[in-house]
């Protein structure tokens, strides 16, 4: 009983410490507030289920990225408003609410739009890259070799460059 209480406390602390990490995964894979909330909850449930097996072999953040990304890409397929395309028709109604006032906001939206067009694995790679994870760290999360990750990252760069160019042209 005491052990369970201790584990719950440790779990709550770890989640609170890595809350932002989970939110980042949610923001990459879910776009409406409701979906992000659902995904956040699902990730927390999966982390809790896996928590007793965490032996500390990997860093807790690495381990949590694995659970969070695995959950986002494999465990939550019931979603109706998760979007894979930023074509206006595919956007959930409550997402087209941005009053793009300043350059920073516009850049942020472009970033989201471009990432939204990547496939699920590319999204994970981009997210880890933007989190300043090294290639060996990414390999430890995704399970793709460093060499293959570098190749993928260079393709993603080209893809994002192309996409943001399209958006820029569209805005003119």
């Amino acid at each position: 009983m005491v052990h369970k209480a201790e584990m719950e406390k440790a779990f709550e602390n770890d989640i609170n410490e890595h809350r932002l990490l989970i939110h980042k995964v949610c923001s990459i894979y879910a776009f409406t507030r409701a979906d992000r909330k659902d995904l956040f909850q699902e990730i927390v449930i999966q982390v809790w289920k896996a928590y007793p097996n965490f032996r500390g072999a990997a860093k807790i953040s690495t381990w949590m990225y694995r659970v969070a990304i695995n959950t986002a890409i494999t465990a939550l397929r019931r979603q109706k408003t998760f979007i894979t395309s930023y074509e206006p028709a595919a956007l959930p109604v409550n997402m087209i609410d941005g009053n793009v006032n300043d350059a920073e906001e516009e850049q942020r939206q472009q970033l989201q739009q471009a990432i939204g067009r990547l496939n699920e694995i590319e999204k994970a790679i981009v997210m880890l890259y933007m989190e300043d994870k090294t290639y060996p760290e990414m390999e430890d999360i995704i399970g793709i070799s460093t060499g293959a990750l570098r190749v993928k990252m260079s393709r993603i760069r080209a893809k994002l460059r192309e996409l943001t160019k399209t958006f820029d042209n569209g805005n003119r």
């Binding site: 719950e8 779990f11 709550e12 989640i15 609170n16 809350r19 932002l20 939110h23 980042k24 949610c26 923001s27 992000r36 659902d38 956040f40 909850q41 699902e42 927390v44 449930i45 999966q46 809790w48 289920k49 896996a50 097996n53 381990w63 694995r66 659970v67 695995n70 959950t71 890409i73 494999t74 465990a75 939550l76 397929r77 019931r78 920073e104 850049q107 942020r108 472009q110 970033l111 989201q112 496939n119 699920e120 694995i121 590319e122 994970a124 981009v126 890259y129 933007m130 300043d132 430890d140 999360i141 995704i142 399970g143 793709i144 993603i156 994002l160 460059r161 943001t164 160019k165 820029d168």
Partner: protein, 198 residues
């Protein structure tokens, strides 16, 4: 625009979502809502069948059974035992699939392997069960329910074989359709992920 230029924007993007503090301990009281959890729920329901079977067996034992239906009773018992074992294996597989803390690539590949092997076993098990019932229908009237000999067994053996073959073929399509409905979408999605991981 280069991705490196977007790093700062990315860091600011997510900051806003994390302001509100969620009640973590309340969240873990909820059931998972993913497809694996749905499968687990479906497999758990199969255990209700085992309870019904156990009640029927208990009823048979308390009311005694004559030597004449000895064969029928034990065939039935073996069949139910095998079915219970099969259900248990389903439930165990879901326990393995549920693990989400492995490497992304390994987790996806393992899920596919387990689901596909389960599907194959399921199709084979249903086929064997059907063959078992066909054999029972052919043999049983010689020991019990002798009146079947005047009806079903009075038909031409060719016609009976034709019916059995049709039932097997129907079972093949129905089983595939049902499995596809239960696992298909998830399996297809996992296979797409494997392609993305190449």
């Amino acid at each position: 625009m280069e991705i490196d230029e977007l790093k700062d924007a990315w860091k600011n993007t997510v900051g806003g979502h994390g302001q509100q503090r969620e009640n973590i301990m309340e969240m873990i009281q909820h059931d998972s809502s993913g497809p694996v959890a749905a499968l687990k729920k479906a497999f758990r329901k199969q255990y209700r069948f085992i309870i019904i079977v156990a009640l029927i067996v208990l009823n048979n034992l308390t009311h005694g059974f004559s030597e004449i239906n000895f064969l029928f009773f034990f065939s039935y018992l073996i069949f139910c035992g095998l079915l219970s074992f099969f259900f248990y294996q389903n439930y165990r597989m879901i326990g393995r699939i549920e693990k989400m803390d492995g490497l992304i690539k390994t987790t996806v590949e393992q899920q596919i392997t387990w689901l596909e092997s389960r599907l194959k076993t399921h199709l084979a098990a249903v086929r064997i069960a059907l063959l078992f019932f066909i054999a029972l229908a052919e043999v049983l009237p010689y020991f019990q329910h002798g009146r079947m000999l005047d009806k079903w067994h009075a038909l031409s053996p060719y016609l009976r074989v034709l019916v059995y073959v049709s039932v097997m073929a129907l079972q093949y399509f129905i089983s595939r359709g049902l499995s596809n409905r239960r696992f298909g979408r998830h399996l297809r999605h996992l296979k797409e992920l494997v392609v993305q991981l190449q």
